[in-house]
Symmetry: C2
Subunit: 254 residues, 2 copies
């Protein structure tokens, strides 16, 4: 087979975060496959075929892209952030494992990208400067009991916790439950970062103590970071937002 | 104050992974500050001042950079991977918190980068396709008891675990201890990824079962990824390396 499938991380939205490797993959593709808003981010050019699909049809989209590649196309499957972090790469490999054995002969590449957690952290300082966990708060693909057990384990072990997919109209209560669990384990003053649409025009970043965090402050474009017990604010002059960071040391003051 | 300090993520080494935003920050800097091998990655040009320092002097380096910025320079502190992940951003903010109050008036930015975990994951498929933790195995800045407790918590909750700073001549036994702990909690067939110097000329990536993983296979440039119980290999045709991925679903087969 001569086709190629590259799963391309577009980063958080600002083209200044798109790596040159990802740009090259887009420039050499014959076909762009992905969720509509991500396909829209790719510059048009003559002959480029665009295949936009709805959200939450990842496996169908992956099979469609693999089929195109198996027929000789150079396909770029586009993903927000990094494709390996709660995005399209796992869906493509799941489709390969359970699909046409010939797909295993395809050339499949992943081009990494700046995932939302890194962009959000950079905006406010260095909140994930210590050990951290990243988890999806969605219970569409795993039982809520697993989500809750993982969240409790991460908080109890004093990891910084980044929450992807915190809330949607179909999952309205999970983020509130997560804040309640966090309040049982972390102090009320723990810094919480709510970073919406980082790197896009409608970016909004808030930093507030856990006791004041509410699920209604987030939407499906929001990344939530829950500080560890050591995560700190640095107050600044005038009306500037504080910086947030988690020191590298823990228990040992150098 | 008119100075500017930007903490720039250079990514894993290949310039194709350097974001345009990071490139811009380097191009507009008057001074480059960092660990020697990272400073070497920045293209030279007339008038650019380069300040290379040894490894493990992060706080001194941060204070030096802040001082330059406070005196009006446009400083780029360069960091491998992403500056917010076990790199220079936390050191800079630690220096700010404990340093000259005037530094709080400086313009300090963080430019995110592709961290080693994302580059390593992309090379082999989608191993961090589910919930994951990232932790530093170094006990220079935290007691080994904390490292061990976090590792056990992450493994018990079935996170994929990425280990930064796995081994060095001064820390020879910690990675072996981590593999032993993993063997108590995960099955012997759990996929382990050892990804050395991804994106550089001397890149070497190995995938092998936990039962065969040995600390001697890693050095300080190696990123280790320990699969979750659901992490799987996809065997391929001929002599190609398998792909590794962690399915998005867990406990629920859609």
């Amino acid at each position: 087979m001569t086709g190629l499938l590259t799963i391309v991380g577009l980063g958080p939205g600002d083209p200044r975060y798109l790596t040159p490797a990802a740009s090259e993959a887009l420039a050499s593709a014959t076909d762009i496959v992905g969720y509509g808003p991500y396909v829209d981010r790719v510059q048009d050019r003559p002959g480029l075929r665009r295949h936009a699909s709805d959200n939450r049809v990842e496996l169908d989209r992956a099979r469609f892209a693999l089929d195109l590649a198996a027929n000789g196309a150079r396909v770029a499957v586009v993903s927000g952030g990094d494709p390996g972090v709660f995005a399209m790469a796992a869906a493509v490999f799941e489709a390969v494992e359970n699909g046409d054995p010939a797909w295993r002969g395809l050339d499949i590449c992943v081009e990494p990208g700046i995932t939302a957690m890194l962009a959000a952290a950079a905006r406010v300082g260095a909140p994930i400067g210590g050990d951290f966990c990243a988890m999806s708060l969605s219970d569409n693909l795993k039982p809520w009991e697993v989500v809750e057990a993982r969240l409790r384990a991460a908080l109890a072990a004093d990891f910084v916790v980044a929450l992807y997919n915190p809330i949607s109209s179909a999952r309205p209560w999970q983020l509130g439950a997560a804040f309640t669990i966090a309040s049982e384990i972390r102090s009320p003053g723990t810094p919480i970062i709510l970073a919406r649409a980082v790197g896009r025009r409608d970016e909004r970043v808030r930093i507030l103590p856990l006791a004041e965090a509410e699920a209604s402050m987030a939407d499906m474009s929001t990344m939530i970071i829950i500080g560890a017990s050591t995560t700190r604010l640095i107050e600044r002059i005038a009306n500037q937002e504080p910086w947030v960071y988690t020191p590298r040391f823990y228990g040992i003051r150098p």
